[in-house]
């Protein structure tokens, strides 16, 4: 991720017009706003929660009361810097906040505190799976605006809970060629932000928001006018909007029309983009240095401290899971999509040294429990299971102390009750029967009337015995060890 060099990549993608056969190349850049998961807002002590009752999380500062002053949140700077380091950006030792002016009812001070000509970091980027490097131009810190709610009759209501929530805005170079690349970039960015603990990146709650800048040009020609698309609330919409906008722009050019520089909105109901405002009404933001905040100085000691707090990133973990732990690329991707899962997996592997079993159990059993209404767990981290719990179940199954199916039952019971494996094995009577006399009795019972199978086994078809196994396990209530059952059956049949 820290590589600054652009990997040469094929530029023969693009969109071939059915009408003219011309190959059109899209030129795409992304601007992503991400709410930092700090305890308090960027410039005041209000503790933001999504969904709180309107205007309940406000104070003189974030409502822009006359005479109130902003004070910088240190935690926001730490998270912003950590993100920058994870993305390979160059962090500026000195930067500053600026005021960006415009009038709107959800902007309490009449200006937004942002960073204009001295962002806290520049450069960096994300490597895609194709090897292509999408470069970041910059990331800057700013405060979020409030929310204007327009759908209440002829009134507009303003909720300032969100006003002042810390954001980082990352801007890419126009390195992206396709909707798929855009989605891969966003997926990686989201993973990195989550791994750093910078943000929960929940698009539904607005903690991750993406704007697309896009133009098209015939292959080999210079760049043309770009259009900005807003209101993209999911990666699916980002993808659909890009696909739609490429076709719209190509059609326009081929009809002899011009594309005007404007901001367009994605209309998810009709699957089209439509004009929001044109460049003629563009704002003059009248940026100038925020006089109420001292410049931001980032010392090398602070940088080093934050660098030490950086977790191993998902791309590196995936590579390691494949090479050192022998997992498939698909398993590696599934296990690293969320940091809590990857951390859980690694802890379980450290305890058991059984990466494949851990991987299978997590994907087959634990993932199923997430979102299970009976358990009431909506997120992985809410599961009442520790890596040790999973490993203890895996060990019991591997040792033959319990059957595989009992292992599943046990794990679920542990998640439900929070009790230990040992206690539940006893409570639920899951231990496999080791009593050979008892197993022999079940075997003899199962053999009654199965002379044909016995004859086949004796005739040199040992696999015929499998047809008897199920019957014995059933008689045991699932507690007989299949290996012991097989050996017992072989012994009885072999008897003269």
């Amino acid at each position: 991720m820290s590589s600054e060099t652009e990997v040469p990549h094929m530029r023969e993608v693009g969109y071939v017009s059915k009408k003219t056969g011309v190959r059109w190349m899209p030129v795409i850049g992304l601007e992503v706003h991400c709410q930092l998961g700090t305890r308090t807002k960027l410039f005041c002590g209000c503790e933001y929660r999504f969904g709180a009752s309107p205007n309940s999380i406000t104070c003189p500062k974030c409502t822009g009361q006359p005479g109130a002053l902003p004070v910088q949140n240190r935690e926001a700077l730490a998270l912003a810097v950590r993100t920058a380091l994870a993305l390979g950006c160059t962090v500026a030792t000195k930067s500053k906040f600026d005021r960006k002016h415009y009038f709107y009812c959800d902007l309490p001070k009449g200006f937004q505190i942002s960073q204009y000509d001295q962002p806290y970091c520049t450069g960096g980027g994300i490597q895609l799976s194709t090897g292509k490097f999408v470069r970041l131009t910059r990331i800057h810190m700013e405060e979020d605006a409030g929310k204007a709610i327009h759908d209440r009759g002829d009134m507009t209501l303003v909720d300032l809970n969100r006003a002042g929530v810390p954001l980082i805005e990352s801007v890419t170079e126009a390195d992206i060629d396709t909707a798929a690349e855009a989605v891969e970039y966003l997926t990686s960015l989201k993973e990195i932000l989550q791994y750093c603990g910078a943000s929960e990146c929940d698009m539904e709650k607005g903690s991750l928001r993406c704007d697309v800048n896009i133009s098209v040009r015939p292959a080999g020609e210079p760049w043309r006018t770009k259009v900005e698309i807003k209101n993209l609330n999911s990666f699916r919409f980002v993808s659909a909007a890009i696909e739609h906008e490429i076709v719209r722009q190509v059609d326009a050019y081929e009809m002899g029309e011009e594309i005007v520089q404007e901001t367009r909105l994605w209309d998810a109901n009709r699957n089209v983009t439509r004009t929001m405002r044109s460049k003629e009404s563009a704002h003059d933001y009248r940026y100038f240095a925020e006089p109420d905040l001292p410049p931001i100085h980032i010392s090398s000691a602070f940088l080093e401290y934050e660098r030490k707090l950086l977790p191993e990133l998902p791309s590196s973990r995936r590579a390691r899971y494949e090479s050192a732990l022998g997992l498939s690329p698909k398993d590696a991707r599934n296990l690293t999509a969320e940091r809590v899962v990857a951390d859980f997996f690694e802890a379980a592997v450290r305890l058991s040294d059984k990466p494949k079993e851990c991987s299978n159990w997590i994907q087959n059993e634990l993932f199923k429990m997430v979102g299970d209404p009976e358990l009431g767990t909506e997120r992985f981290e809410e599961l009442q299971l520790k890596p040790f719990d999973l490993v203890s179940v895996i060990e019991l199954v591997d040792k033959g102390s319990i059957a595989m199916s009992s292992g599943r039952t046990l794990l679920r019971a542990m998640a439900e009750t929070g009790k230990s494996a040992k206690v539940l094995v006893a409570e639920l009577g899951l231990a496999q029967v080791q009593d050979t006399a008892l197993i022999e009795r079940w075997c003899r019972e199962a053999l009654v009337g199965k002379d044909k199978i016995v004859a086949d086994v004796k005739a040199g078809k040992p696999n015929a015995i499998n047809a008897l196994l199920g019957g014995v396990i059933k008689l045991s209530g699932g507690k007989a060890n299949p290996q012991v059952v097989r050996e017992t059956l072989e012994r009885i049949i072999a008897q003269p």
């Binding site: 006359p66 005479g67 109130a68 910088q72 002016h101 009038f103 309490p108 001070k109 100038f288």
Partner: protein, 492 residues
């Protein structure tokens, strides 16, 4: 027991704390003065007798050991300060009826020391002006001559002290708004180093210039009030981490007093020059050494100031658009229409002029030529002072180029009005501490009008400035002079 208005704040607090008088009696005396003088001098925009009486009762009941250094002292506050229980309208129609939901740090600290806010004083709208003629509620009058300005923009606070209504009052000094009215009303005003006093709760005009500043009838009072207000504040990131002030009466022997030739130029009124030179002669007699210095970029100070201050003002005043507080005018029914109609109806002409100016100098394409260049010259002005202070300890000169001018005489000439601040503005641009102390009178049409002497110190040398001011005060009797007709108690 001395008469209420005969005492300064330190004296009044001592008598009150010792039980010679009560805080409640002080409040009644202050409101008697309001009653006697306010209709003629137009000092207060709103007062709160009930809250003052309630606070006084609490203080009177307080045990002796908890009584603070301002115990029971009535104080007047400029109407751009946020105090729960008072209307902070900045003398503007747009904030008519605005009650802040919080109290400024500096007010809280004074109240903790025993001060009792009695009311919010008249001012130029949003602190923009030098005569109070930009108040939406009519100008305050000078107690020395009610046909003349009391200066501005902290006019009402200056008059409250000069007329004996309160011993101390707070103003805000962005380009001279405390020192100039102090000079024109014959009292002491002190602008601390930028950042010494938290601005949390001061409604911003020019954020990089504004500083809360006290008025009083003695230097020891402004020293005490500044001392009590200063110190870091978790609500103001620009606050200096300065030790509390430690002022000592200073021996003037060997003190190097810098006299900038630019402050004694052609625009200086003859009699004001004379009083200033007499003051310098007195300093010499007391053992100080006069050192000629130069502040070569002073001629650009007014231009720089009106770019920087208006740019910041255009930004700071953007929040007044009718959505959350103050007055709202619906206009054509659209959101932008409401913003425009509210601002059109709410702001006075000078505020509009400055918002336009500030918006222009920050506009794309003009920023570098105006705001960017002004910042560079501001740096040069700061360096002028740094260079001058290599050869002197303080800089002394007149505070205002002329004594109080007649109300109406500059109303239609904004540039002439802006030049009233030519001697005070450089100090704000450089962020330095400066005091204005009374240094005599000039006779204008048979009336004695006060003249102020400005003492400027290096960055953070607030204590030095006040020590020199106190030495001057002790050697002279100008601070003891009272306006003959409009000083509370003088007429009874």
């Amino acid at each position: 027991m001395s008469a209420y208005s005969a005492l300064d704040a330190v004296g009044l607090a001592q008598e009150t704390a010792r039980g010679k008088r009560s805080a409640s009696e002080n409040i009644e005396a202050a409101f008697d003065a309001v009653k006697a003088l306010d209709s003629e001098l137009n000092v207060f925009l709103n007062t709160n007798l009930e809250s003052a009486r309630a606070l006084a009762r609490v203080l009177d009941a307080a045990p002796a050991e908890t009584r603070g250094p301002l115990h029971g002292v009535p104080i007047a506050l400029k109407a751009n300060m946020c105090v729960e229980g008072f209307e902070s309208n900045c003398a503007s129609r747009i904030l008519a009826g605005y009650h802040a939901p919080y109290t400024a740090t500096f007010v809280r600290r004074l109240v903790d020391a025993g001060a009792i806010p009695i009311g919010m004083t008249n001012m130029d709208e949003f602190a923009m002006g030098s005569s109070c003629e930009n108040s939406a509620f009519g100008p305050s009058k000078n107690p020395w001559d009610e046909t003349r300005t009391a200066g501005g923009s902290s006019s009402g606070s200056a008059v409250a002290v000069a007329a004996g209504i309160t011993p101390i009052a707070l103003g805000s000094d962005t380009g001279g708004s405390v020192r100039q009215p102090a000079a024109l009303t014959g009292i002491v005003g002190f602008k601390p180093t930028y950042g010494r006093v938290s601005r949390y709760g001061l409604i911003a005009f020019g954020s990089s210039l504004d500083q809360v500043s006290p008025f009083a009838r003695s230097v020891r009072d402004v020293e005490l009030v500044t001392h009590l207000m200063s110190g870091t504040d978790s609500n103001d990131a620009t606050c200096l981490d300065e030790p509390r002030m430690n002022c000592e009466i200073c021996d003037l022997k060997g003190l190097r007093i810098g006299v900038p030739k630019e402050y004694f130029g052609g625009g200086l009124q003859h009699d004001v020059r004379a009083r200033s030179e007499e003051a310098l002669a007195l300093f010499e007699q007391l053992g100080a050494v006069i050192v000629p210095v130069s502040l070569p970029h002073s001629e650009h100070a007014i231009a720089v100031y009106y770019v920087v201050a208006t740019a910041e003002a255009s930004s700071n005043l953007a929040r007044f658009e009718g959505v959350r507080f103050g007055r709202r005018v619906d206009g054509d029914g659209s959101l932008q229409g409401m913003f425009a109609a509210t601002r059109e109806a709410g702001f006075g002409p000078e505020v509009k002029r400055r918002i336009l100016l500030g918006t222009y100098v920050l506009s794309a394409g003009y920023y570098d030529a105006w705001y960017g260049r002004a910042l560079k010259v501001r740096t040069l002005l700061r360096r002028d002072f740094e260079a001058a202070f290599e050869s002197c300890d303080v800089i002394v000169g007149p505070t205002s180029p002329e004594p109080a001018f007649a109300l109406g005489s500059k109303k239609d000439d904004p540039v002439a009005m802006y030049l009233s601040d030519v001697l005070t503005v450089p100090v704000n641009l450089a962020g330095l501490p400066a005091a204005s102390v009374p240094c005599g009178f000039v006779d204008v049409l048979g009336r004695a009008l006060p003249v102020g002497l400005q003492i400027i110190g290096p960055h953070r040398a607030d204590a030095r400035v006040l020590s020199v001011a106190r030495a001057f005060e002790e050697a002279t009797s100008f601070a003891a002079a009272r306006a003959p007709r409009f000083f509370h108690g003088a007429r009874s």
